[in-house]
């Protein structure tokens, strides 16, 4: 399993949002893309999951060129995304949301209870709220639900778009702990974050994006100690 983004260009109308990004994610890794607003992090992720069209460049997954595979078929290949802003189904219950995550699995009936158990073990909170509408959950719970739902399709690689957005510090720490836990079960993770501190602590490798370009690629631990990165993304008195 290897996800490779080669020289990716993406446009919104006439504006070029991604100007030739190349990213590699190897099996078992947590790779994070960090950068400021408008750097192209979310767009990159959406292009990998298929929600955005590629102008040029290619995306290779498992040795297969998936650049033109529609988003819903990429789920079958093993790419699953927890969308930004927790895109859960607000009018469905937690359980229904999780079931939707399995919509396209061939043997969904046989897998359902096993995978629900797995998600409930990771997020006991979701079990307590199983019959509550998704839209009535707190921000942190919605994020848990989005991640749990993405896991229901048994992904090989999980794409996470700003899981810390709008959450309380304690909840952020909790979510990141669980992300590491998920990674240990063998799921590769591509993580987009603005919270560079947390992301770099959890990730193996990182790419720094600036206005549509990769400006730096290194081991996460190196970046954590890089003075220039500390200055630009972590702040001098970085919170932990």
């Amino acid at each position: 399993m290897r996800l490779e983004i080669k020289d990716l260009h993406v446009h919104y109308g006439k504006i070029e949002a991604i100007k030739g990004i190349s990213v590699v994610v190897d099996e078992g890794e947590i790779v994070t893309l960090i950068g400021a607003n408008g750097a192209g992090k979310t767009t990159t992720l959406k292009t990998v999951s298929g929600l955005r069209k590629v102008t040029s460049g290619s995306i290779i997954f498992n040795g297969q060129d998936i650049t033109n595979v529609p988003a819903h078929e990429r789920v079958d290949l093993g790419i699953s995304q927890a969308p930004e802003g927790r895109g859960i189904f607000p009018g469905m219950t937690v359980l229904e949301n999780l079931e939707m995550g399995k919509f396209h699995r061939k043997n969904r009936k046989a897998e359902m209870s096993d995978d629900l158990d797995k998600v409930y073990t990771l997020f006991p909170r979701l079990k307590e709220r199983a019959s509550q509408a998704g839209g009535t959950l707190s921000g942190g719970e919605q994020q848990m639900l989005a991640i749990g739902r993405a896991l229901m399709s048994r992904p090989k690689v999980l794409l996470l778009d700003e899981p810390s957005m709008g959450l309380a510090p304690q909840m952020i720490a909790n979510i990141f702990r669980i992300i590491t836990e998920i990674n240990k079960t063998g799921v590769t993770i591509l993580l987009v974050e603005q919270n560079a501190q947390q992301a770099l602590q959890r990730a193996h490798r990182a790419y720094i994006l600036e206005t549509g370009n990769v400006v730096k690629e290194a081991k996460a631990s190196e970046l954590l100690n890089d003075p220039a990165v500390r200055e630009a993304y972590l702040g001098t008195g970085a919170h932990s």
Partner: protein, 345 residues
Amino acid sequence: MKIRNYWNLRDWGASVWESANRPKRVAIALTSIILVALLPFAGASFLATPIAAYDAVLVYPVGIFVLMALGLNIVVGKSGMLDLGYVAFFAIGAYTMAIMGTTTGLNTWEIMPFGIAFAMIAGVILGLPTLRLRGDYLAIVTLGFGEIVRLVVLNSSWSKGPNGIANIPMPPDIGPLKFKLDDQKVFFWVVVIMILLTIWMIRRLSVRRPGRAWEAIRQDEDAAELMGIATLKYKIWSFTLGAAVGGAAGVLYGSKNLFIAPEMFTLNVSILILACVVFGGIGNIWGVIVGATILGYLPDRIRFISDARLLVFGIVLVVVMNFRPDGLLPRKKREKAIVKKGANA
């Protein structure tokens, strides 16, 4: 809050239905169907419509409106796509009936599958390129499509242009049941049967995969795609099924009215049917039926006040939508779908 509890017919109905066992449910359903089927005999009561014949009013507008509103509800209510050109499918059905009925020897029932098929084909042709659009854009394109269909029949020789097509044959008699112009009970029963079939179809689909896919698409289309739902395919299905119901309604209308002309298929009809859906309760089939019944029936019931009736009609719409913004019988609401804000980079 208090008003809501007073008015909560939907939950009352749902609780009655859920607490009933199977024989009781069959009894409820059968009784309601029989009561509805007996409606044409109530012409002498307070229900009577002045000026227009009561049994004709029950067929059109009431019955056909209910049918079309149910079809439009598949598109607007179930999968959340705003279709402002629904009249196009109605027109396609009606013109199929008119042209095939006057040129071939086929009768209404034999033409019905053609009318439905042509409407569905039109649905696919319109849907394939346009259903990639969302929200307002889709509404504008469908609005344009509705006008295109009307303008094409208005300016074509095969449709006899603005003169319309006359002498459309009536449906053949079913055993002892005769279709007559001055007694339209049989027409009404046919409409009721078609409505029942549509309700049955919608209810079957709603609890199965298409229904869940539509629901997901309505609430968050991107998230639905990420769940592995082929959103475009399901949207086209929803659009096409809606078109099929509209086409069927059109065939029946042509055969009932015996004469059709382009001016019967204006944007007003699309808007009125959409009003039925919204007025009754978007997404809830029972609400939609109630809404279409009221909006179809009311203008004819108050026809004795002549020109003022449209004013009253408008006031009723405004007042009801003010007090019941989600319609008379709104869909079960846990949390309204949030409209997705523009993507960020």
